[in-house]
Symmetry: C2
Subunit: 185 residues, 2 copies
């Protein structure tokens, strides 16, 4: 799902101080409505089936044609786990079971918080949903490391490989400088 967050015809909004707040906000000059803008939550999953990982080739921008994990915007009134399960269904027709939280990333330049779960397929059938050109269950040496859509996909796959055989891990976060440098321009 692609999201636009700016209203193209909203010239009545100006940045102003509002009461009890440390930042200026967009306020409607006509009615005083305060248009708070906050980061969005992305929910997704690294889905295992035996010794393979579910990958999706993107059919939409951004990064059309590159490979990703099933993930997308959390919707109102959903739990994060429900959202991750829905995205796996929508993007790969995959029925999954969530195991535990694998990673939490802050992607500040696009104001996203990403919650990525470790999961597995409940049944082996998968198929591309409308946002995927292709879906595949890949072994480690089949993963297209230089054709991944986003740094957080690369980070997650690397971390998943580290904790493949254990549930005794703490969720990964943004990697320290120099760890898992994203190999794609």
């Amino acid at each position: 799902m692609v999201q636009k967050t700016e209203h193209p015809h909203a010239p009545e909004f100006t940045k102003r101080d509002v009461g009890g707040d440390s930042l200026k906000r967009s306020v409607c000059d006509r009615c005083g409505f305060i248009d708070y803008q906050n980061p969005k939550v992305i929910v997704g999953s690294a889905i295992r089936h035996k010794n393979r990982i579910l990958m999706c080739k993107r059919a939409i921008e951004p990064r059309i044609g590159y490979w990703t994990l099933p993930a997308g915007f959390l919707e109102l009134h959903e739990t994060a786990e429900e959202g991750a399960m829905r995205e796996a269904q929508e993007e790969a027709c995959a029925e999954i079971e969530i195991e535990r939280l694998l990673a939490v990333y802050s992607v500040t330049h696009i104001s996203q918080v990403q919650l990525i779960y470790k999961a597995h397929l409940v049944r082996p059938e998968i198929a591309p949903g409308p946002e995927s050109q292709e879906v595949a269950l890949m072994e480690w040496d089949e993963i297209p490391w230089t054709e991944l859509a986003f740094p957080s996909v690369f980070w997650t796959l690397n971390y998943l490989r580290e904790v493949w055989d254990t549930d005794d891990f703490t969720p990964f976060g943004n990697p320290p400088e120099g760890k898992y440098p994203f190999p794609v321009k």
Copy 2:
């Protein structure tokens, strides 16, 4: 910070199907702008100093006069950890160091994802910020268990007590039915 999310003077928006999306969205009849609404991220921390926990008595609605942990809305272009540190500064003039992720809650009826960190004070000085009537460093038997502002504060304190002496834990989530029933009406 209190947030309003509905524009009171926006009669031009109606719920409609939009391309490539599973849900109806609010679309402006005049210009086609799609007003995506998504959950917001709350960032906060359970802050320790020796054998005590930092608590704040709320000076603002909702739940004015009840006790909480420093937490609030994540801002654009902040990391979750930066947001938790900012909220501790704003609400309790507290300088903290984040240790690790303690809990992730989905509060679906108000569409919030809450990320709560285990942290400690860097220096012992604290003072109420504009959103707090009072701040205090409390031992376990001083915590006002029946005057807590929100269920997630209650859950977090209970979980923190369980993992007080260890860093070998997985982040807590919404407790299973019947665990940590919130004792406040």
